[in-house]
């Protein structure tokens, strides 16, 4: 949808095309979306099970495929566009992505450091790392 200029009267929201549309015209978008989503899903499952890839690269590849597939869903199924009538939806999405990133990334980051710094004594006799670095009265 590039011709956004003459839409002053248009009724367009995400997941929503022009009213009274012919059936065939919108189907192409859904078919493209379905094909891309199937491709990315297959790639995800292949990457997770293959022995060909370097193991530390697998989570990165999985995250990349997942984010790509979410983008495909947003564009081809929810019809999120860069058009002016979609600006509010895009801004809300950007804010949502920010919160999701802070919530998920922050939790994983903080808890990872808590685990590595505070769970050492449970390993049996291993000294707390804080005692090595700490007490720094230099």
């Amino acid at each position: 949808m590039s011709q956004t200029d003459d839409r002053a009267h248009a009724d367009v929201a995400p997941g929503d095309e022009y009213a009274h549309e012919e059936f065939g015209s919108g189907l192409r978008s859904y078919l493209i979306g379905l094909g891309l989503a199937l491709l990315l899903t297959a790639a995800s499952f292949w990457v997770a099970q293959t022995k060909v890839m370097w193991a530390p690269a697998i989570p990165v590849a999985l995250l990349t495929f997942a984010i790509a597939q979410m983008g495909v869903h947003l564009v081809f199924f929810l019809h999120l566009t860069s058009g002016p009538d979609n600006t509010n939806n895009i801004m809300a999405l950007a804010f949502g992505v920010l919160i999701v990133f802070l919530l998920f990334g922050g939790s994983v980051w903080i808890m990872h450091h808590m685990n590595t710094n505070m769970m050492m004594p449970a390993e049996g006799g291993a000294p707390m790392p804080m005692q090595h670095q700490g007490g720094g009265h230099h």
Partner: protein, 227 residues
């Protein structure tokens, strides 16, 4: 603009300083509704925006559950871990079922826009069957896990697993009920504007559930067993 400013009492139109939604014409102000000179948005756009806000808040809630799962993934308490519990084939079938259900839902909205009642009901029925198949596979997996003494009370990892996947399953259940309601309303009340808006919100909900499922199969299943 200068002519209108000359008339006393007429406030000149304020230009959008951020050039949001600019286009090929080069000017930030467009004739799109809901901003500047476009006038108020139609009810469909406002309703879609409001429901989009709800969906985003729902996704934020799921992000909290995903964070809990990612943090507690290692906390198996000596019990079974992700690698020995998860069945890739089952998850792949679930994924394909939900994806095709989402596609059928898209076909239903197209049929609705073209005012083809029979095609709409058929596409919604296919959407329902695929969604119900997904839910049946998920329930079978859950009962299987509980039977293998890997229920939600077994370990922190399994608590987090049942929470995030179960919450998605509850959403799908609610979506299926909503779907049947929409079929009945379109059948009984026809293509009224308010009914069209409800179906639009349902399709947004159903597509958003598929987006959440992408995160579920990636973070919970695939990355859970890989790490």
């Amino acid at each position: 603009m200068s002519s209108s400013a000359a008339i006393p009492g007429v406030v000149p139109i304020r230009r959008d300083p951020n050039h949001l939604g600019h286009h090929a014409a080069g000017e930030g102000e467009t004739r799109a509704t809901g901003r500047g000179i476009g006038g108020p948005s139609s009810k469909r756009i406002v309703v879609g925006y409001g429901f989009w806000i709800f969906l985003l808040s729902d996704i934020v809630m799921f992000a909290a559950f995903f964070a809990a799962y990612a943090v507690l993934r290692g906390g198996t308490a000596g019990g079974p871990g992700p690698a020995e519990l998860f069945d890739y084939t089952n998850v792949a079938i679930e994924t394909v079922l939900l994806l095709f259900s989402s596609f059928a839902c898209g076909v239903a909205t197209l049929a609705l826009n073209a005012r083809r009642a029979l095609l709409f009901q058929a596409a919604m029925a296919v959407t329902f069957l695929l969604g119900a198949g997904f839910l049946a596979l998920e329930l079978r997996e859950f009962t299987d896990l509980v039977a293998r003494d890997a229920g939600p009370t077994r370990s922190a990892f399994l608590s987090a697993f049942f929470t995030v996947v179960g919450c998605h399953g509850l959403h799908v259940t609610a979506g299926l009920l909503w779907l049947l309601t929409m079929m009945a309303q379109v059948f009984a009340k026809g293509f009224r504007p308010d009914i069209l808006r409800r179906v639009m919100c349902f399709s947004l909900f159903w597509h958003a559930l598929d987006i959440v499922w992408v995160a579920v199969f990636t973070v919970v299943y695939l990355m859970g067993s890989a790490a």
